[in-house]
């Protein structure tokens, strides 16, 4: 049995005691560092999710603004946008507009139904190949509401790709809406 030290003695600590104390200190420090790093990573993830959400809203609103109505001429006929290409940086011609997309357009990069953005949410490309600087992929699907004439379902999904998949738990954003063809 160890004899207690006298109060005020100068016996000091053994190397083992010092090492144990250091290990405990290091453990506490590491735990604190982990918390700080985790918080920092979550802030970055939140920033990315904010960008994902605005990207999804933007594409949804662009889809909503494409023509899907009735021609006022007599007799009235359907008018649909079948040419706008939303996958380019600024909407352009030569696309499919509101034509029905491939059914896997939300999960696979389909030409005309997918584009990509960098870490700041800036457009960096479109098509079936993911550009090296891409961090987000935005895909959208256009389909008919089953058994309902002239009603379209728009679905937009934004998810991390490439470098965006590493370094944090960034989830995808998905929006869905229905647009009916109606006269003014």
């Amino acid at each position: 049995m160890r004899v207690p030290r006298e109060a005020g003695s100068a016996m000091g600590f053994t190397l083992v005691e010092v090492l144990i104390a250091l290990a405990l200190l290091a453990g506490a420090g590491l735990a604190l560092a982990t918390v700080v790093l985790r918080a920092s990573r979550d802030v970055t993830a939140a920033r990315r999710q904010t960008i994902e959400t605005t990207m999804a809203v933007e594409r949804m609103e662009q889809l909503r603004s494409l023509t899907w109505g009735w021609d006022a001429a007599s007799p009235p006929g359907r008018v649909s946008d079948a040419t706008t290409n939303l996958a380019t940086n600024v909407p352009s011609s030569g696309g499919q507009g509101l034509m029905v997309s491939p059914s896997d357009a939300l999960d696979v990069n389909e030409d005309g139904y997918a584009d990509f953005a960098d870490v700041r949410g800036k457009w960096v490309g479109a098509g079936t190949t993911v550009p090296p600087s891409a961090v987000f992929a935005r895909r959208w699907r256009v389909s008919f509401v089953p058994s309902v004439a002239d009603a379209l379902v728009f679905e937009v999904k934004v998810e991390p790709v490439g470098a965006g998949r590493s370094g944090g738990s960034v989830e995808s954003v998905r929006l869905v809406t229905v647009k009916g063809r109606k006269a003014e």
């Binding site: 802030v43 939140a46 946008d81 003014e184």
Partner: protein
Amino acid sequence: MVTKRSRAPGLGDHGFTLLEVLVAMTLTSLVVVTALWMASTDVVIARAAPEAVDVQERARVAMALLETDVAAAGVGIDHGPLAGSAARLLPPIVPRRMGLSGAEAASVARADAMTLIVPADVSGTAETTASVSGTTPMVTVAAGPPCPIGKPFCGIPAGAVVLIADGTGRHALYAVTDVSGSSANLRALQTSAPAFDAGAVVVPVESRTYYFDRTNRQLRRYDGYASDTPVVDDVVDVRFEYLGDPSPPLRPKPPPGQSNCLYDDDGHVVAPLVSLSPQGGSLAPLPLDMFTDGPWCGEGDRQFDVDLMRVRSVRLRVRVQATLDQFRSTAPPGVDFRTAGTGRTAAGLVPDLELTAEIAPRNLNLGR
């Protein structure tokens, strides 16, 4: 005081060997350096995290407010000959400041200011029974159905803001100062107001002017009357771009026998406007100078370039930065920092956040 006698038996008084001192010093230095390094990095990251959250929060708030109000721009007219969307009669989105204080001329179109007419919390449509003129008119409206029974001024309370409009594009906003029976005293929210014949519609609305205060780096909101408040601080860029119908506007179309900027008394188009080249199959970009060259519809402070009737979509861009200089890089302004700061540690920097969204207001896309 330590004496030889107080030492534990066996230790002797020979002190430490050089080796012991060196080991102790090495260990101590290692621990201290590691602890300092970890602590300094942690402190830098921990300090930057709340600022990064704040930047994101401000950017989200700015976009949420703008998106909500732009999507709701316009108002419905419940009944009467002008029933339908008021966006057929007037532009609910105008790229300048409007209202009682600091209103800009109709010939001004800014990329960083936008006035919206949005629906009010109170609803109802009334119809004037006599002509209205001046900036402080007394207005009388038809009392019968569909106005709520027993409610003065068709249920529109004092304190509300109303839009009065006719079919020619003439319109103005007024604050309701007091109501009595089927009449109310109004105060125009502009320095000059047009005269309306009997039969003009009265609809409760709200005016929202969003503008960028470059000096104070704020996104501000003005209600067209007395309230002009900052919405978000440390904003370094606000831009609004407009997309619209490539075809010339066909509205506002006045009732037979009346004329406006688009039609003569016989209902013929006075001077056809140009068709624009669409970006794709639907919308064309509308440059700001398009809104400053006429033809001009409406009267008074709310006169407007009729090309504003083309607007179908608005692209919003807001960029916010970290408040304190220490979170922004000392490097010259670039993609991540619009304004240089004093921060030198990469882990402690909080880049600007720029959000872009395009909103297609529902009332401007009816039938599309």
